[in-house]
């Protein structure tokens, strides 16, 4: 494996994504919403709209929602008042799958630009005439898609943790976030989701001819994460530590198949694009 070539290609691709405003502007806005505005809304809104007594009303809605928490989380809510339960439930439990949007979005955008953009800009042929093997080219592009997606996700996670703990300090009176289930989510599931986004971009890129088409199609993957959000919020699925590990394992299995297909399609797709 010629790691120098792989690194050069990854750096070049990252540089090109940075130059593509259509790619990075949404990638900058969405994290702001998810890791800053959303937790602030969850934590501060009940206070802003609460009765003049200043204490959030332990109303039936909160009670209904918090009743959805799985047994694994009951211990985390034990001994908390309703305001604290709301903070933990909304920002520590319901929001968890929302952060998974980030690795998916980052990697699929970078992947679409890297794989389809190369073809769209008619630079693929010159790349194929270099000594780099198909595997090295593929790996360089995977690194350019997945690694920054993960770094941005983890940075967003750190910001999210700071926002949640700071905004909820008056209610919680301690650093309570992240809870146990978040660690496997970030370390195990987020890389799997990032790989899924990249693999999907590769598969889609073999069917479309422009970055915008690929960008729009990879956007449909959001449905997967939204399904997790809804399932989590309605109690159908609970991302406890055990379930998170299982979900991650399932995603990695899907990734393995998609990457295998992606490598094959990348070679064929490259040649097909030239034919």
């Amino acid at each position: 494996m010629n790691w120098r070539a792989v690194g050069a290609l990854a750096r070049k691709d990252l540089w090109e994504v940075r130059m593509n405003k259509v790619a990075w502007i949404p990638a900058a806005i969405v994290p702001m919403v998810i890791v800053v505005l959303l937790p602030l809304a969850f934590i501060l809104a009940p206070n802003l709209f609460a009765p003049s007594t200043g204490t959030p009303d332990p109303n039936a809605n909160v009670q209904t929602l918090t009743n959805l928490v799985p047994s694994s989380m009951v211990t985390e809510l034990h001994g908390l008042n309703d305001a604290q339960r709301w903070v933990v439930f909304s920002t520590g439990f319901v929001s968890a799958p929302m952060l998974l949007l980030l690795p998916l979005m980052f990697s699929s955008i970078a992947g679409a630009d890297s794989f389809v953009g190369e073809r769209e800009r008619k630079t693929l042929e010159a790349l194929l005439y270099t000594p780099a093997t198909d595997s090295e080219l593929f790996l360089g592009k995977v690194i350019a898609s997945v690694v920054p997606a993960l770094l941005l996700t983890w940075m967003s996670f750190v910001v999210y943790a700071v926002v949640v703990n700071a905004a909820g300090w008056n209610i919680m009176q301690r650093v309570w976030f992240p809870t146990a289930a978040w660690w496997p989510l970030m370390i195990w599931v987020a890389p799997a989701i990032a790989t899924l986004g990249m693999a999907a971009a590769v598969l889609i890129s073999s069917r479309v001819s422009t970055f915008m088409e690929a960008y729009q199609l990879t956007g449909t993957l959001v449905v997967i994460v939204l399904a997790l959000v809804v399932a989590q919020a309605t109690g159908v699925l609970s991302l406890s530590v055990g379930v998170t590990l299982l979900v991650g394992a399932a995603l990695w299995a899907v990734d393995a198949v998609l990457v295998w297909l992606g490598v094959r399609l990348f070679s064929r797709g490259a040649v097909k694009a030239l034919a």
């Binding site: 120098r4 050069a8 008619k122 010159a126 005439y129 000594p131 093997t133 040649v271 030239l274």
Partner: protein, 330 residues
């Protein structure tokens, strides 16, 4: 050892045969042209010979390596210039060269110096740090040629290198190709349908049609297989005797003759060899012709090409119609 050898090389895309049973050799240091219309299989040949595509049948070796199995090692020793420059337009000229140099495995220290030297040699030093997107087509193609030569390849593949350029830019690129290949004794595999360029650059040519090799050789060799004898144009000052044509036709070694002007001031004579020309001139003079100009026609690559493709060359209508089908070229 030959630089390039192909043996019944074939490549199909589904039902379409792009290259069919092509067998040829290119010697080291030779400038070899592959001529043919669009869709003749030229670009597919370049891809096959660089291991970008695998053959459907047959085999090929470049510098003794099998491109399909040893493509990576081979591509370190070859350079390719395509019709489209395929440069990263948001990067500068220097960044493009450095990126591709790294992809070709050049050591960083050597790469920086070599990239600067190439930019200088190709007249791009002043724009080295400008984004390629702002370059003219000619500048982009010069930069792409610099990229193809950056790692000092032993074999240079040029696929329609000047097709998209205006005449001035094309001439500049052609001059650079000559300068950087002849001096270094590089093997060049030039695919083109720009025939003057091929005639100027190539030692030998192969002619492809619909993926099949229909002829290969030097211009003189190809002309000999197509046309027997040489056409000579004779121009006289005043009208010649009415029986001039008959008198010329009976000269030994004359195979055909015709009047280009009815009054006999211009005629074309086909002779077996140039040594027959004095006898022809003598016959004309004996009939009162005052010869002012005698010109033995030389076949151009264009004549040869169109004859091989089955289309009479405009410059040689009589010859083409007379010799069509001769020569065992298929």
């Amino acid at each position: 050892m030959d630089a390039i050898q192909t043996d019944a090389l074939s490549r199909r895309y589904g039902n379409l045969t792009a290259v069919a049973d092509v067998t040829l050799t290119v010697a080291r240091g030779e400038v070899f042209g592959v001529l043919g219309p669009n869709g003749a299989g030229k670009t597919t040949m370049v891809r096959l010979l660089n291991g970008v595509l695998a053959p459907s049948a047959g085999s090929c070796r470049v510098l003794g390596l099998d491109p399909a199995r040893q493509g990576s090692g081979l591509r370190r020793r070859t350079g390719v210039l395509t019709e489209s420059p395929a440069l990263y337009e948001r990067m500068t000229a220097r960044e493009n060269l450095r990126f591709f140099g790294t992809m070709y495995g050049m050591p960083a220290g050597k790469l920086a110096a070599r990239a600067d030297a190439m930019l200088e040699a190709f007249g791009l030093a002043e724009r080295a740090d400008a984004k390629v997107g702002g370059f003219s087509k000619g500048m982009k193609q010069r930069l792409a040629l610099a990229r193809a030569l950056l790692h000092e390849p032993e074999v240079l593949f040029l696929d329609e290198p000047t097709a998209a350029l205006d005449p001035e830019a094309a001439r500049r690129v052609t001059e650079l190709i000559m300068e950087f290949t002849r001096q270094a004794g590089r093997t060049v595999f030039l695919c083109t349908h720009y025939l003057p360029e091929a005639q100027r650059l190539c030692d030998r040519v192969a002619v492809l049609n619909r993926g099949r090799l229909i002829a290969t050789g030097t211009l003189a060799e190809l002309a000999r297989t197509l046309w027997h004898g040489t056409w000579v144009d004779v121009e006289c000052l005043v009208a010649s005797a009415p029986d001039l044509l008959e008198a010329v036709r009976v000269v030994a070694g004359v195979t055909d003759a015709r009047l280009d002007e009815p009054d006999g001031t211009r005629l074309a004579v086909q002779v077996e060899g140039e040594e027959r020309i004095p006898a022809v001139v003598r016959a004309i003079v004996e009939r009162g012709g005052q010869v002012v100009r005698v010109n033995a026609r030389e076949h151009t690559l264009e004549d040869v090409y169109f004859e091989l493709q089955g289309e009479p060359a405009h410059a040689q209508p009589a010859v083409a119609s007379e010799t069509s089908g001769r020569g065992g070229r298929r």
